[in-house]
C-alpha cells in the first residue's frame, strides 16, 4: 500500500517533469513537422543558464531569465537556421537540429566542464511538504509538479481562448490558408518554436536544481522525451500529458517490481524450466525498467502511429 502510494506520487511528479519538456517538442512537431532533436539540449541549456544566473543574482532570477534566454535561442534557430534547409526536406531539418544538439552540448562542456555543477534549490524551498508513512515528501517535487500544471493550463488557455492561439492552431492545420488570410506565418512559427524552447528551458531551470545538472542530462532525458511524444501523439498537448504521466508512473512502479516472465510461468508450473532457459525470460522488470518505454514506443508506432491522442499520420 505504502509502495503504491509513494510510487504514484513519484510517478506523477516525474511524469509532470517529462511533460514540461515534451510539451514544447510536441507543439513544434505539430506545427512544423520538424522533430527537434535539439529540444533536450534546450532543456540542458535552461538548467545551465539558470545555474550561471542564479549564482550571481539568485535562484528566482535564474528561473526567470533562463526560459527567456533559451526562448531567444530557439527563435534565432528558427529564424536564421531552419529556413535555409527547409527547401531540402524534413530530413535535413531533422539533421540540422541534430547537429545543433551536438554543438550545444559541446559548448556547455567547453564553458562549464564535463562534470556536474552545483546548481541547488534555495534553502527556502528545501523542506518537506507533508509526512507520509514516516518519511517526508520533499516540497520541491510538488513545486516541479505545480510549475508543470500551471504551464499546461496557461498553454491550454492560450491556445484555445486567445486570438493568438487560434492563429497558431490555424497555422498548424493549414499554414497556407492562414497566410492567405493575412497572418504572418513565419512570425507565428518563430514564436511557437521560441515558446517551445522556452518551455524546455524553464523545465531545465526548475528541474536542474533537483536533479544533477551535468552535460549528459540532455541525452538522458532526450530519448525518453521522444518516447513520450510518440506515445502521446505527435502534435497533441493532451496526449503528451497523458503519455508523460503514463511513463512516469510506469517507471516508478517498475523499479519496485521484481516480476519476470519466468515468475509468470510459475503460475502454470513452468517457472523452473523458464529459469533454466535463462536469457530474456529471467530478466526482472526492475532491471529493465528503462527498456520498456522503448518497447512501448515501438508498439505504438507500429499499431497506432498517431499515438494515444494524436491526429496526424
Amino acid at each position: 500500500m505504502e509502495f503504491a502510494i509513494i510510487s504514484t506520487l513519484n510517478g506523477v511528479t516525474y511524469g509532470l517533469l517529462l511533460f514540461m519538456v515534451s510539451a514544447g517538442l510536441t507543439l513544434i512537431f505539430g506545427m512544423m513537422g520538424v522533430l527537434n532533436f535539439a529540444h533536450a539540449s534546450f532543456y540542458m541549456l535552461g538548467a545551465y543558464v539558470a545555474y550561471a544566473v542564479s549564482s550571481i543574482f539568485g535562484f528566482w532570477t535564474g528561473i526567470l531569465v533562463a526560459p527567456i534566454v533559451v526562448g531567444l535561442v530557439g527563435m534565432a534557430v528558427e529564424r536564421f537556421l531552419l529556413p535555409r534547409v527547409h527547401a531540402h526536406g524534413h530530413a535535413h531539418e531533422l539533421l540540422l537540429t541534430f547537429g545543433l544538439a551536438l554543438i550545444i552540448e559541446e559548448l556547455i562542456k567547453l564553458f562549464f566542464g564535463d562534470f556536474p555543477v552545483n546548481y541547488q534549490m534555495p534553502e527556502a524551498l528545501r523542506f518537506s511538504a507533508f509526512e507520509i508513512f514516516g518519511t517526508g515528501y520533499p516540497f520541491y517535487r510538488m513545486f516541479i509538479g505545480a510549475v508543470a500544471v500551471i504551464m499546461f493550463t496557461v498553454l491550454w488557455l492560450l491556445l484555445t481562448r486567445t486570438r493568438t492561439g487560434i492563429v497558431v492552431r490555424a497555422a498548424e492545420r493549414l499554414p497556407q490558408m492562414a497566410e492567405a488570410l493575412g497572418h504572418n506565418i513565419p512570425i507565428v512559427f518563430m514564436f511557437v518554436f521560441g515558446t517551445g524552447a522556452a518551455l524546455a528551458g524553464l523545465a531545465g531551470a526548475v528541474a536542474g536544481a533537483f536533479y544533477p545538472t551535468n552535460p549528459n542530462m540532455g541525452i538522458e532525458l532526450g530519448v525518453i522525451v521522444f518516447v513520450v511524444v510518440v506515445v502521446g501523439g505527435l502534435g497533441s498537448l493532451k496526449g503528451s500529458l497523458v503519455a508523460s504521466l503514463l511513463i512516469g508512473l510506469f517507471s516508478s512502479f517498475a523499479v519496485g517490481l521484481d516480476w519476470s516472465i519466468a515468475s509468470m510461468f510459475d503460475v502454470v508450473g513452468l517457472g523452473d524450466w523458464a529459469r533454466s532457459v535463462g536469457g530474456l525470460l529471467t530478466l526482472e522488470l526492475s532491471s529493465v525498467s528503462a527498456t520498456i518505454p522503448f518497447a512501448l514506443m515501438l508498439i505504438v508506432l507500429l499499431v497506432r502511429p498517431a499515438g494515444l491522442m494524436g491526429e496526424r499520420n
Binding site: E2, F3, I6, S7, N10, Y14, K109, G113, D114, F115, P116, V117, N118, Q120, S128, F133, G134, T135, G136, Y137, P138, Y140, R141, F210, Y211, P212, N214, P215, N216, E220, L221, I224, S251, S252, F253, V255, G256, S286, S287, V288, S289, A290, T291
Partner: protein, 413 residues
C-alpha cells in the same frame, strides 16, 4: 639498381647501428585515457597524476640514461576508440600502457596487450591498470603483463565492514543497491559474502540500469520498506548523486557505505545530505601520517590530490621502485624484466606498503575508510565538508583470495 639498393641498405644499417650506440632507448609510457566524453573529469585526473609520477622519476634521473617519455592518447571513453589508440601506441613504440577511468576499457586493453604480446615476442608491452576494478581482470582475464594498482569490490567492502563495525556504525541490517553490470554485481556479491563477518543481515538488494535512472525515489521507497541500518552502494556519478539526493529528500535515516563518494562534484551536489556517510577507497589526504605527500603534489600541480590521483601516483612510485632494480646499461629495454621487477617490488606509500601478488598481479594495498564531516582538514569541492579518516585497513586484511579461474601463463624466464 641492386648496387644502389645495397649501398642504401649499408648506409641505413650503419645509421641505425650508430644510433643504437649513441642514444639509449628511453622508456615510453602511454596513457590511453578518457580525455573527452562523459568520463573526462576522471580521465584527466589519471593523466595528471601519471604525469606527476613520471616527473618524479625523471627528476631522479629518468631510466636507462634517458628521461621517461609520456604520451597521452584520448580514447573518448569508448572501447573501440581505445583499441585504435592502442594500435597507435604500438606504432609509437610504447612499452607501458596505463588506463584507469573505465573497467570496460581496461578489459579491452588487457586483451589487446595479451594478443599483441603473443604475436610479437620480444616486443612485449605492460598494462598498468590504475582503475579497472572488475574482478575478471585478475580472474578469467588475468595475464602476466597486467598489473592492477587499485582495489576491487571485495577489498572495499571488507574494509568498510571492518571499519564501520569497529566504530559501531554498521548496524545489523544492510541493503545493497548497485548498478546492473559487472562492478555493481561484484559489490553486491561482496556485501553478501561479508555478511557473517560483519554480523549483519542483508535485508534487500537491487540492481538498476546504469546511468539511466533519473528518479531514485522508487528505489528509496523500496529501501525504506526493508528498514536497513546501512546501505551499501558501488554507484558512481549520477547514480550515486541521485540516490543520495532522493534519500535526503525522503528524510530516510540510513548510513551509506559507498565506494565513490569522493568523485569531484559529489559532495558539492549532495550538500548536507552527504554528512555522516562512509567511503572506502585507495587514498585520502587526511589519512596520511604527515602532509608531505599532499603538499608536494600541490606544489607541483597546484592542488591537493583528489579522487584517483593519490593511488595513481603510488603506482608510478612502485614502477620507479621496480626500475631502480634494473640496469639495461643504455641498451634495449626488456619489458619482461620490468614486469618481473614490478612483481617483486614493494612500494612504501604514505599509507602503508603496497606489494604485488604473483598469482594474479593484484596489488596487496591498504584501504582507507573515511566519513564525511563538516570542517574537515581537506575540504572537498570548495564546500566546508570533507573526509575524516576512520581507519586505514592494512593490505593483508583487506585482500581477497586468488580467484580459481586465474590461470596465469608465466613467460619462460
Amino acid at each position: 639498381m641492386t648496387k644502389f639498393a645495397f649501398g642504401a641498405a649499408m648506409a641505413l644499417g650503419a645509421g641505425t647501428l650508430g644510433a643504437a650506440t649513441s642514444q639509449a632507448e628511453p622508456l615510453k609510457i602511454g596513457i590511453i585515457e578518457s580525455l573527452s566524453g562523459s568520463q573526462t573529469s576522471t580521465g584527466r585526473l589519471y593523466a595528471r597524476a601519471v604525469k606527476y609520477g613520471v616527473d618524479r622519476i625523471n627528476a631522479a634521473g629518468g631510466f636507462n640514461g634517458e628521461p621517461v617519455q609520456v604520451t597521452e592518447y584520448d580514447n573518448a571513453g569508448g572501447a573501440s576508440e581505445a583499441a585504435d589508440k592502442f594500435r597507435q601506441a604500438v606504432a609509437d613504440g610504447i612499452n607501458i600502457i596505463i588506463q584507469g577511468a573505465s573497467s570496460a576499457i581496461a578489459g579491452q586493453l588487457t586483451e589487446d596487450v595479451r594478443k599483441h604480446n603473443l604475436r610479437n615476442p620480444g616486443k612485449e608491452m605492460i598494462f598498468m591498470n590504475l582503475g579497472g576494478e572488475a574482478m575478471e581482470l585478475t580472474g578469467d582475464k588475468c595475464q602476466f603483463y597486467h598489473f592492477r594498482f587499485t582495489t576491487t569490490a571485495p577489498m572495499r567492502i571488507t574494509a568498510l565492514v571492518n571499519a564501520m563495525k569497529k566504530s559501531d556504525a554498521l548496524g545489523s541490517k544492510a541493503y545493497a543497491i548497485n548498478q546492473n553490470y559487472s562492478w555493481g554485481k561484484d559489490v553486491q556479491a561482496a556485501v553478501e559474502a561479508a555478511a557473517s563477518e560483519g554480523g549483519y543481515e542483508v535485508v534487500g538488494e537491487v540492481l538498476h540500469d546504469v546511468n539511466k535512472i533519473q528518479d531514485f525515489a522508487p528505489f528509496v521507497a523500496r529501501i525504506k520498506s526493508a528498514e536497513p541500518d546501512t546501505v551499501f552502494t558501488g554507484n558512481w556519478s549520477n547514480d550515486l548523486l541521485l540516490l543520495m539526493k532522493a534519500t535526503g529528500d525522503a528524510g530516510l535515516d540510513v548510513t551509506f557505505a559507498t565506494t565513490f563518494l569522493d568523485q569531484p562534484g559529489n559532495i558539492a551536489n549532495a550538500g548536507q545530505t552527504a554528512l555522516g556517510h562512509y567511503i572506502a577507497n585507495n587514498y585520502d589526504n587526511a589519512a596520511t601520517p604527515t602532509n608531505e605527500f599532499p603538499e608536494a603534489y600541490k606544489a607541483a600541480t597546484g592542488a591537493y590530490p583528489i579522487f584517483v590521483e593519490g593511488h595513481s601516483t603510488f603506482a608510478l612510485g612502485q614502477l620507479q621502485e621496480a626500475l631502480s632494480t634494473l640496469d639495461f646499461k643504455g641498451g634495449d629495454i626488456n619489458v619482461t624484466d620490468i614486469a618481473m621487477a614490478l612483481e617483486n617490488s614493494v612500494y612504501q606509500s604514505p599509507l602503508g606498503p603496497i606489494s604485488v601478488r604473483k598469482e594474479d598481479h593484484q596489488t596487496i594495498r591498504p584501504v582507507v575508510v573515511s566519513k564525511v564531516v563538516k570542517g574537515a582538514k581537506y575540504p572537498a569541492d570548495g564546500t566546508d565538508m570533507g573526509f575524516e579518516t576512520v581507519e586505514v585497513i592494512p593490505g593483508e586484511k583487506a585482500i581477497y583470495p586468488v580467484q580459481d579461474n586465474c590461470q596465469m601463463k608465466r613467460p619462460n624466464a
